[in-house]
Symmetry: D2
Subunit: 362 residues, 4 copies
């Protein structure tokens, strides 16, 4: 029988983490009458368990609308390859056994891991070694497989859309090309969705290699029709993870690659050689990972938080919660971490973007 | 072959209407090379067609983030039962034939009707009489059957959640019961979702008859645990459409029913007899129908707008677009209008609410 | 020499209270090296001093953007006329001596009172009896004399403006009269400012008695020019505190006055007799007192919080901080509480409103 | 007697421009019964007057809450030094006489110029040559002399504050240094105000030369007290316009200066050599110039727009409107453009920042 559980958050920030924590703690404490222990700073908190604390109603008071995570996240990385200083050098050690020992010592009958691809991978390995782990998928990038959406994604899309809205009137009044760089190292979900929502003219994503001349064509076509401005939304990985790295390799060879700052500045440089229009860039950065979650994300996070306790109650260890249509379902963690969810270049959403006269730069 | 289409909006306001119009007009004009006619003020615009205008790129400039509808909606109601003044009295006439005639006269090969239950019903009847109609479902209440979500709903939920957030700190600092009245005459979707997202303590919806004593119990239980405040979210139809009308009927008999203003004031009166805590009410009203749509709603609306043109291109008249999981699909209009989508009192979302220690008043 | 101070908040909620507390505590602890005691629940906390706590950096962590007050406010009212149950009846007692005794017992060398007209009055009386009190003016209504602005006011105006924005598109698309009821029992500051900012057509405030026929004239004039909608912003006190109470008295005599709910519903009823247009009302209520303060209010509150400590350091007891132009100044509490700040019916702001074609209903 | 006026906007974008235009047009058309001509694209529109149009109520419908300017702004710059292509080369010509001629030809009795330092300078020179010009000051930077505030400034501060809020939780949860780069080439108004409002730990402005070691000290001091994160707000001109250019010159000499992207990336590089903490940067860019104006800015802009018409009516040409305390006043344009308004390093606001334990890097 379950008596006591632990909960931790791992990886980058994501709006809704606190909403998951709150929901899990509420359900665990008041529905299931379990004890709940908060593990501080991700898996680190199970290696050095001095900061673990017993959670009660006060621990979660007022956190629903707050960004960040009251539990903190790991700084040092993978416990299976944990960086340790030895004789002045950094070496890597497997400290996973310490985690298992501490779980036993704390008498945790279940451990909730809220994390992205990396944390869920660690969770799965710990599960295989015997830990009673259940998972909650987390990424603002929305690129985790086997769940329709992850919490935090739509908040990030809203933040980016709001920024595009603000840039739109300036672009129009002042006849400018404005480039907005959004998150997405491997996938274009935020760029594609915020681009459609914000009425972008050009969207550049890692899944669709782009051609700078096609971008210039689109800008010129717009000018010729009386729209003397263009909004470009670019995913941060659109160059590097784009299938066609021509521009990036050329830039590296030519030594024109910027050493600091976002890739949008590089795009601005490339475009500025082919147009006389003024160009401005905005790099949203971590504001996409913060802020109060939208209602959609709060609800999804709350549902995840409640349902993951049910997984523990049913002893479905090694599983994680996921959204499928309108339902929260459970899937083996292994299935989600073995693949990444990409934008389908021939799918309905891209087709919609094209029919809206958005250029994908190809 | 399709050469020319019309587009109209019917019924109450809903964030995202302009996003649908924009998407349909863009796809029709630039992807399909059709002519597009804007029908002003809903079906009225097809009875008195003097305000119909040809739409171009300028017609839709800058409307994506705007609430309302640039096409206006009908004031006078159902063309099959059209109110007409005759000899000083209002009589009802069937003017549907005039609509059919005007569609012919305008040489519209297809007509997009964006509307709720009422407008889609009219659309279906006109379709049966021969009009080439396709539909886009619209309701902030989210109670249309056969589509997972309608655009506008999550914007309304966000607006209500934002209001609850604002009320939360006051309730807590000032030890109050605060009642927030949200839209939902027949169904509790907005109340339930904004209540979960805003961290409400009590949610009252038409689908679950409530008992005032249970509400008082919950408030007292919270007080005894040191939470000297409670947030109640009530759907406007929670009394009248609630299965148990005891309170309302009693109030009518006793003459204590308020003649003007929201039902939340009545709830405040009823509660004030059973607690000494101070009570405040907020009636959000039409601010739930306005404002810039969230990214989610803009994307959904844009997808609907594009896909409904594809229905015309494929001559799937009598059909409407709908969201199923992540896909836009098409369904017969008839299937959607024949039923209403209620919150399942035993479904996953209600179960989640209860595990979050939210009282449903029962 | 000052060694130890106390701080309390009194009266209704107001965005920025926490920002004042944070600034005072920061300056007191780290600039002046004083001890700081948080008095819980306003003056009540000095009558029953069991909840007083020593404040440190952790006490104020994360509170800058939060609405409400971490110190709570008084529930029971004036310590000079304190309601006490005696033999089953409520009688009123002067308990101010207990407050003075507790200030001595706690060895407070200074006491910061953040409050409105009522709390500052109490503060002034306590000061006259010997308490080392300094004040911070607080009201969302902006009707305190001797300070250009109070924190919280512009946040309330922003909240009301945002609501008017959301209602605007609906009013326009759906040809409606929409009435927005905002706070302001005695003065029209919020109504006037949010009305100008939101582009209202008619603004009704207590300082200018209105005439329903003039309102109808304005609505009809707008209709005749093609604007088939009107937005009315009404201060909650526009009827009752309006110099001309004709309508209200008539309503009372006729028994048509609503028993529950806002005065806007009454206005709707009155107008509905003279126009065929559809009318909707929104009663914003306490959402105007909540939410994160705007930057303007956070800065003003932070400045007040810092400067009020300087008053203590300089032993300017009996004084309060105030905004004059761009400077924070100090004035005797007595000067501010002896009068109320009204909108000047012949002042520049009203003249501006009229030149913007806004009807003041007169 | 005034019969006909023109209106133009010049320079960079600024929230509230449309609110000024709307107010001026409303007052001119309906209060003064003047004709109003919209000059498109700033002073360019008076050199090539083909896009000038007569404005009516429809011209300004719905623009109050919109960012940007419906009149566009100049692309080509100063008419006194107008760039013209001659024989393939760009030469500079004085085309101011053409502007005077076109003003005569259009029979404009007055011309409203809404613009910043640059546009007001041009306006003043044209006035000296005989043009009936009145001015409205405009800058998001708030660095125009002789007016307490300019519209747009607080909207920019709010946007920056909102970004800092979003970054705060991430910084705290993830133990990071986060640098936010805001606008302000010459002055630190936005940085200082948004830094105070957002609860920044370090604020770097052009008026106060900073020392990187002092920044590191502050970060280390925070770490030692358990705050393992710091928020730095930096004005874009803090390096270059800072009185101490040591770092920048050294960087130029060492070739480590970034060629593209904001100066915050350079600060990140410099700091990263002296701390092991992870650093992230956000460059807000033009989102500070867009978005719907706050209520404060809408009201200020509306007041400016109305009052500037009164200047025309009173034939106070060569004057501009300004805010002084709570009043709109008029001052000679010449007085404002002859100086810039800097943050006083020894003023009240800086003193407040320091008492709030904010390091100014010195």
């Amino acid at each position: 029988m379950i008596k006591r559980i632990g909960i931790l958050t791992g990886g980058g920030d994501c709006p809704g983490l606190n909403a998951v924590i709150r929901a899990s703690v509420k359900s665990a404490l008041f529905h299931y009458n379990w004890e709940v222990y908060g593990i501080v700073d991700g898996f680190d908190g199970l290696i050095q368990p001095d900061k673990i604390f017993k959670m009660d109603a006060n621990s979660i008071r007022g956190i629903l609308p707050k960004g960040g995570t009251i539990l903190g996240t790991s700084n040092r990385g993978n416990p299976f390859k944990y960086p340790v200083k030895e004789e002045g050098r950094i070496v890597v050690k497997d400290r996973s056994d310490e985690i298992l020992k501490n779980i036993l010592k704390l008498e945790l009958d279940g451990l909730i891991v809220i994390g992205g691809d990396g944390s869920l991978n660690i969770a799965f390995q710990l599960y295989k070694k015997g830990a009673n782990i259940v998972g909650v998928p987390k990424t603002i990038d929305n690129d985790l497989a086997k769940t329709d959406y992850t919490f935090g994604f739509y908040t990030a899309v809203n933040t980016a859309t709001d920024a595009i809205d603000k840039l739109h009137t300036t672009a129009e009044s002042h006849h400018r090309i404005i480039i907005v760089e959004v998150m997405g190292r491997d996938t274009g979900w935020i760029a594609l969705n915020s681009g459609i929502a914000g009425g972008a003219d050009i969207i550049l994503i890692p899944e669709i290699p782009f051609d700078v001349d096609k971008i210039i064509n689109k800008i010129n076509e717009r000018n010729s029709k009386g729209s003397h401005f263009s909004i470009i939304v670019i995913a941060e990985g659109a160059f590097e993870k784009g299938k066609d790295k021509t521009y990036l390799e050329k830039a590296k060879n030519e030594g024109t690659l910027p050493r600091y700052g976002g890739i949008s500045n590089y795009l601005a440089m490339v475009l500025s050689k082919k147009t006389e229009m003024e160009i401005r860039t905005t790099i949203l950065g971590h504001i996409q990972r913060g802020g109060t979650p939208t209602a959609f994300d709060r609800i999804l996070a709350s549902r995840f938080g409640v349902e993951v306790c049910d997984l523990i109650a049913r002893k479905k260890f090694g599983y994680m919660v996921a959204l499928s249509g309108n339902n929260i379902v459970s899937i083996p963690i292994e299935e989600s971490i073995s693949q990444q969810k990409f934008v389908d270049p021939y799918g309905q959403l891209i087709e919609t973007a094209r029919k809206l006269q958005i250029s994908m730069g190809d």
